[in-house]
């Protein structure tokens, strides 16, 4: 079976994630879109591992998952702290720093 459908799906998911980061307002949703991008990458890794017939890509997928989990810990801590201060998780409200 051709790898193209998997790679297309991966690119599609990545694009949805990237567009989501750019257009959504809520920091949590933006962050979820980043996670979607990472998962799209995992799909690409696994597909390419299958194409090349080696395990490197599959191992990479595990590393990406661990990194994504660590990123969640740090990210949610930061987003929670700014939410508690401002009572809002909108990335548009945080605008003291500009130009």
């Amino acid at each position: 079976m051709s790898a193209t459908p998997f790679l297309t799906l991966s690119a599609l998911l990545f694009t949805i994630g990237a567009v989501g980061v750019l257009v959504r307002r809520n920091a949590i949703v933006v962050f979820m879109c980043v996670e979607l991008m990472l998962n799209a990458t995992n799909l690409a890794f696994v597909t390419f591992a299958r194409v090349h017939g080696n395990l490197d890509g599959q191992i990479a997928a595990f590393f990406v998952m661990v990194v994504a989990a660590a990123e969640v810990v740090v990210g949610l801590a930061i987003i929670t702290s700014i939410f508690r201060t401002r009572r809002s998780a909108s990335v548009d409200d945080a605008s003291l720093l500009k130009y």
């Binding site: 920091a27 933006v30 980043v34 490197d56 590393f63 990123e71 740090v74 990210g75 930061i78 130009y99």
Partner: protein, 535 residues
Amino acid sequence: MTLPMQPEFTSPVIEYSRLYPLLIVFGVAAVGVLVEAFLPRDRRYLVQVVLAVLGLGGALAGTILVAADLDVAAGDLTARGLVAAEGAVSIDGPTVFIWGVLLALSILSVLLFAERRLEGGITAFAGQAAALPGTEAERQASTRGIEHTEIFPLAMFAVGGMMLFPAANDLLTMFVALEVLSLPLYLLCGLARRRRLISQEAAVKYFLLGAFSSAFFLYGIALVYGYAGTFTLAGIDRAVTDRVGGQNLLLAGMGLMAVGLLFKVSAAPFHAWTPDVYQGAPTAVTAFMASCTKIAAFGALLRVFFVGFGGAQWDWRPMMWIVAIITMVVGSVVALTQTDIKRMLAYSSIAHAGFLLVGFAGVFEGSSGYTGITSLQSILFYLTAYGFATVGAFAIVTMVRDAGGEATHLSRWAGLGKRSPLLAGVFAFFLLAFAGIPMTSGFIGKWSVFSAAWSGGAWPLVVVAVVMSVVAAFFYVRVIVLMFFSDPVGEGPTVAVPSALTGIAVAVTVAATVVLGVVPGPVLDLAQEAGSFVR
């Protein structure tokens, strides 16, 4: 019953004798976490500071020892070193040079982190990050003198990631190193004691944009893996030289990886986070970030593009030319309009990324018998010069204060030269070094980078770079004029007397900037001895 034939297991070879500086830093970071868990609060500060400084100092000494006995790499005339840890890390001339500079600068940064006298006996970091700004809980934490000593292990983890990032010899290690260096920095940015709203805002912006850019970097890695079938840079180099598979995959992968790396070196158009984060973060963290992250990220950028994608030079050079020009123009021109000293220094750091990219896009790798400086070596020297001046400049910013903490608005700096000529003089000296005036480190750095780029045939870039240096010099001089030739407005800020920690940091950075400017020979020789990357 017999078991099916098992392939023989060979245990991996880890060259501990070459990797130990890295392991010391990570080890000390882990010990720092244990100290947080088991030591009473009032003793943590001293233990953490001593631990961090000793750890970094030990790693620096180790780096020097490792550098002293690097062997000439097999089959290569210019590179010294080896690929260690089963191909994951390369310990070569550029790596140990970058490690040395990173460790020296992070010791100075840790001294700035540990500064307590400026805030009246407490560090410049939030007493209790979980307490809301302006609440009773925050006031209580403040009056009880609570402080977060977790900043030291966090900084150590960041330093470890920064050391691994330019040394990584395969893309997966590089990605993990990128995250290890970034995640602690996101947290450190949000931990300012004063102006916590903008500090938290800086952390959120840095985090979201950083995660976004590292997702691009990762997708780039996936595409390059799809193209080459391997993560190792040597394997990618072979695939690129042999032109296997579809070139579109390679081009897309290279482009996406460049986005991630250029974000970290804060090159335009991926620079939007830099001014906000540099302004909002605690100034000690800004000093650390501005100098060390840039060094680590440039090391990784050079390694990926020179070693991995060297064979596709003609595909990525035009892109890097454009990025270099945009970065220089944006950094220099927008800095003219800034009214906040930290923001101005942030744009100055963007402009410096542009000047460094000139050397990078010039790609001059020398030839046999050539004794001049190559792109890589000139960039190593420039990074050293820039790093010391940056830490020094931000250290000065922490000392100019008024009732609300640091007085970062430029109007508050008017007439500072009359009130305290020494401090204003030192700051002016750093600004002149940034501008690249002869007899400072910045001049030698700029000169070597531009001459390497010229040798590489990138003369149009060099012309733009020289013009932009003049534009950039204008806003540095503007601050100097403001400090020395205008009268203070109203009360004006006070210049706080720091403890010996900040004093040492400033003294060392001034000395380094002078020495690198007046007798650059030894460090230039060291940079040249770094040779080139092992493959």
